[in-house]
Amino acid sequence: MKYDAIVIGAGPSGSASAYTLAKNGYKVLLIERGSEPGAKNVSGAMIRESEISKVFETKDIPFERIVKRVRLIFRSKDDESEIIVKPKSKLYTISRLKFDKWLAQRAENAGALLITKTTVTGIEGNKVMTERGSVEGDKIVIAEGANALLSMSLGFRRELKNEETVLGVKEVYASTRNEVEKRFNLQGDEGESWRIISDYPLPSAGFIYTYKDSIAIGVGARVDEIITRGIRPFELLDSFKMPYVELVKGFSLREYSAKIIPENGFPSFKPCEGSVYVTGDALGLVDPLTFDGIGPAIISGYLAGKAENCYSYSKMLFEAREISKVIKSRPLVKELLPNIGLYSHLVNDFLTSWVEGDFSKLRYYKSSLGKLMKHLILGLGVIE
């Protein structure tokens, strides 16, 4: 069987690619290993409408809640400060199964053929091998996600190193819509998202997202930190959850999941060769500062679908705002991560000093001014 294009993986990136190709009149096959799109995928998740709407009509997007408040929390062993941000742009929380199904359906509605429960095992020339037989495609898009077995076997990229990999662990606790709204003081479709930066028991970034009738709670830490400190992922999650047990009290645990998040990739990973293109997490396109990976995955999938050749794909990737942001954030995050403790303390000390009207506590940070300046300059580099 021959197709104009074969897309491997029906996550956000693959579905965006298949949708773009099908809309442009290509005969497209979209192959997914899970029993349905989303069945194998994990995110928090919060998404930005401004990114999704570059590719998809977002009118009927299956969101959980529209984020009205984001709580930023800086936590160290003994201190905690909180800043509440009211986002001006439209942010949604989503659960991946519903969201990924919706995305894949856009691709199907545009004419792509989706087959599930089928794992691609290799690519040779324009032949795509699966456990059910092989198919041919003039263009091949690998949108296989962070555990990029195919991209690695074909030499597009290497394996991630421990220090370039975050492991995210997550739980979903369910109750009733009413109860979620009561606990977070929400009305209707309104939602709240929390981001928690902490240096205890190891540098980590956690999240709490409100879904319709449930709460997602999770934390990510770099794999090298997990290994050297010998803290198991579920121990980290338990320690992270401790201050928030009241939030899920009486709720029932519905799901436990985990996934790696890449913190390195394009341009050091090769995005394409000949008629084979790599997109999304497989290309390492997660913003390490915000953990925003779905937006870049969708944009890169769209660009791979649109690109006429490998050169133009690489060029478009560099030019896309969502992708260049990822590349620029990496050096900053490399600097910030070992200093999470410093910043948690700084934010806490600054806020308490302000409240108490005595800034003498901040004397201690004088010796870190050089470092702070460096981070500020790197930070300014992230801003266009």
């Binding site: 429960k117 794992t119 992922p233």
Partner: protein, 93 residues
């Protein structure tokens, strides 16, 4: 909460053929002594354990997160996906 209790919340369809395999047991013994088996530490689902001096892989519990493959200092794990959509199926994700 124990890991096992968390895993009870999940839907699995077991592939009879293991999707994770250890290439060489001896290497694991060496790794256990020198590196304390990073696969055991990193795995969120307790898939790896030492039983009577031998590493056991309870592949049926795997969350397919991809971490063990990265941390193995000897590249000693043959990591494939479960076939035909088997393995874990998430409801929220």
């Amino acid at each position: 909460m124990r890991v096992e209790e968390r895993l009870y919340t999940l839907r699995y369809k077991r592939d009879e053929k293991p999707h994770l395999e250890i290439k060489d047991q001896q290497t694991c013994n060496k790794c256990h002594e020198t590196y304390k088996s990073p696969c055991i530490i990193v795995c969120p689902a307790n898939v790896y354990s030492f039983v009577e001096g031998k590493i056991i892989v309870s592949y049926e519990n795997c969350l397919e997160c991809g971490a063990c493959k990265i941390v193995c200092p000897f590249n000693n794990i043959i990591w494939k996906y479960p076939r035909y959509g088997l393995g874990i199926s998430l409801r929220y994700g």
